[in-house]
């Protein structure tokens, strides 16, 4: 697992400090602090309207922060206009120039940077090859499909080889197959060019598969920043646990904290032990998150913490089997096992009594 990035350093591609953005009396960003390392593939993940585009627009220079500062490779961006920032954007709405050909669109940035028009055209041609649109070079953007336009927007932003590339949901208009191919292509491209990517999406799978680190946002706040695995396995709060993947939330009361271990109990008094978490104190009533694939059912209790339950429903989903069980204490849990020999042995008939066991370290205390 990746270690935490240092809070400030001149090596960071981007340093956002206490950024606040207000539109009138609506606060779109609330005190955001974020450091993104050079060469990093960084993803902003969050539901619609949480402020992802707003943050990108501030970094690109289209909007200014109301409070706080943004630094690019240690240099305060202040009110530097967008055309003076070595940053390019793939716009959520593409924003392709309708009166120029695809090739001219892609070559525009290079031309503005002072390349000769032949140079610009050659480089634009190479970029179009990369996004597999060479045969459309002479078309107008209006004559392309949404997905093709999106790829032109990508090629156009990459062509000037910026230090930092901002991508605002660049794959949202593509069909699933192309999207999956483009994910790999983008990731590959990022490694090869060494350009720092800030990638915006509200697709958690996209975020998990591509990113070095992910920032989960909601309502203008960063909920958690970390590597994909860290965010998935150690969510900080209920929002993150629910937003990334499926999870079971159990209401628990924390009894004792000893070093890195915490002991807590469910409503019915059943004791569970898990890892202690900063911000959760003894006596607190909080939620424990457990991923469905880290629970398994057995006929006999597999340990002292096994919970007696009854199977409510079993659903076959192809690669896996999902079971819903009801605990003696009342709450329902979802279990998922893979469709394999070992996994199948853990599946019970509907209505059968069983014991639900948690893998070691599967339970995660949430701070709210």
């Amino acid at each position: 697992m990746q270690t935490k990035m240092p809070e400030t350093s001149s090596q960071n591609a981007i340093d956002v400090q206490n950024a606040v953005k207000r539109f009138g009396n609506f606060t779109a960003l609330k005190q955001i602090s974020l450091a993104i390392a050079d060469n990093e593939f960084f993803t902003l993940l969050g539901p619609s309207g949480c402020g992802k585009t707003t943050l990108l627009r501030i970094i690109a220079g289209f909007d200014e922060v109301t409070e706080g500062s943004v630094r690019l490779y240690g240099e305060d961006l202040g009110a530097l206009p967008p055309n003076r920032r070595p940053v390019n954007t793939v716009f959520q709405s593409y924003a392709l120039f309708p009166h120029m050909s695809v090739l001219q669109n892609v070559g525009f940035g290079l031309e503005m940077l002072g390349s000769s028009s032949t140079e610009a055209r050659e480089c634009a041609g190479r970029m179009l090859e990369l996004v597999q649109l060479s045969q459309f070079a002479d078309r107008r953007p209006g004559q392309l499909s949404g997905g093709q336009q999106q790829r032109v927007a990508l090629a156009r932003a990459l062509a000037p080889q910026p230090k930092l590339l901002l991508l605002d949901e660049p794959l949202s208009a593509l069909d699933l197959k192309l999207r999956k191919a483009m994910r790999i292509e983008l990731k590959h491209l990022q490694r090869e060019t060494g350009i720092t990517f800030i990638f915006v999406t509200h697709d958690q799978e996209e975020a998990l598969t591509m990113s070095d680190r992910i920032a989960v946002m909601s309502e203008g706040e960063l909920q958690q920043v970390g590597a994909a695995r860290e965010i998935y396995e150690r969510p900080r709060n209920r929002f993150v646990a629910n937003f990334i993947g499926d999870t079971n939330l159990l209401e628990v009361t924390v009894d004792r904290i000893e070093g890195a271990r915490a002991t807590c109990h469910l409503g019915g008094g059943h004791a569970l032990s898990c890892e202690a978490v900063d911000g959760v104190r003894e006596g607190a009533r909080v939620h424990l998150s457990v991923r469905p694939e880290r629970l398994f059912a057995t006929a006999e209790p597999a340990g002292p913490e096994a919970l007696a339950a009854r199977v409510v429903e079993t659903v076959f989903t192809g690669t896996g089997i999902t079971s819903i069980v009801e605990l003696e204490q009342g709450p329902r849990l979802t279990l998922r096992s893979s469709n394999s020999e070992r996994g199948n042995r853990r599946v019970f008939e509907q209505g059968a009594a069983c014991f639900v066991n948690m893998e070691a370290g599967a339970g995660r205390l949430l701070i709210d």
Binding site: A60, G61, F62, P81, P82, N83, R84, V87, N88, T89, F91, S93, A95, L96, F97, P98, H99, F108, G109, M112, L113, R156, A157, P160
Partner: protein
């Protein structure tokens, strides 16, 4: 699939029938208000003049002959090219062109300004632009004369600021006519450009800035091509009526700055007129305007193909 195709074609033929009837008003307007007057003009221009206004129904080329050829005072000399009217036409084109450029220079920033106000405020700005035009054109043109004359507010202001020592003679110059035309038709420049800029997607300007284009380059390479139809419409809407205008040249230009409009107007006024000559001058003006527009369209098409 086949059934769908059949259904589709029958539906569209019903549609076409209905459309035939619905187009009737449009066709009649075109026929009665565009085509009929032009045909009437064309016919009148080939008739013989009646001495106290009106026409005699007898074919004659006299009107065109008078326009282009000079046969001396008594009409018995060998014909030479008549420059008088061609000069008036040339001056008219020049004056209308200057007025169009002035309107563009003032109208474009105005339209841009209005289109970039918050959506709620825009109708108010458009309203403010059009208010002066509720006043009759004649009265506005006369007021312009008062503004521009030697003891008028413009000269008073310039004297007061010390920019000039003695009042400027503006009335009865080409400039006065240009200013008059400019003021008469400014909204026709502002409104189409405003409509175009309002529809413009400013994300394109952001994209250009993101790709290192300066403000000026963005204006020239991205905004202008996008709003060009509005600019062209504005220029035509100012240029064409300016060309045929007679109020501004009559009231502000004095006797020496005569324009085509005045020439034509004279021919239909009172007993001194010459209807066929007025009609011929109108036809020549119409042809000229059409040729200019056609040349412009051709040049645009060629530029389009080149890019």
């Amino acid at each position: 699939m086949a059934a769908g195709a059949v259904g589709g074609s029958s539906a569209s033929s019903t549609y076409r029938e209905a459309r035939g009837w619905l187009l009737l008003p449009a066709w009649s307007v075109l026929l009665f208000f565009s085509l009929a007057p032009v045909i009437m003009m064309l016919v009148y221009s080939f008739l013989t003049k009646e001495h106290r206004g009106g026409v005699i129904w007898e074919f004659s080329l006299a009107a065109y002959d008078q326009f282009f050829l000079d046969r001396g005072l008594f009409g018995d000399e060998p014909p030479r090219i008549q420059w008088t009217y061609i000069a008036i036409f040339w001056r008219s084109i020049w004056q209308a062109g200057a007025a169009t450029l002035m309107s563009l220079a003032v109208g474009f920033p105005t339209a841009y300004f209005i289109a970039t106000r918050p959506a709620k405020a825009r109708p108010l700005w458009v309203f403010l632009i059009t208010i002066p035009y509720w006043v009759n054109l004649l009265i506005r043109t006369v007021s312009m004369k008062f503004l521009l004359r030697e003891q008028g507010p413009l000269n008073d202001f310039l004297l007061w600021t010390g920019a000039i020592d003695s009042p400027l003679q503006i009335v009865n110059t080409n400039l006065a006519v240009q200013l008059g035309l400019f003021y008469s038709y400014l909204p026709f420049m502002v409104l189409p450009i405003y409509a175009a800029v309002e529809r413009y997607d400013f994300a394109l300007s952001e994209a250009a800035a993101d790709l290192y284009a300066s403000k000026w380059t963005t204006l020239r390479r991205i905004l202008l091509p996008a709003v060009k139809p509005g600019v062209v419409a504005g220029c035509i809407l100012v240029f064409v009526p300016s060309l045929g205008s007679f109020l501004a040249p009559d009231l502000l230009g004095g006797a020496r700055n005569f324009m085509i409009g005045s020439l034509i107007e004279e021919q239909f006024k009172g007993n001194a007129g010459n209807w066929p000559f007025g009609a011929a001058a109108s036809m020549i003006l119409l042809t000229l305007v059409l040729l200019l527009l056609l040349a412009f369209a051709r040049q645009q098409a060629r530029a389009e193909r080149r890019s």
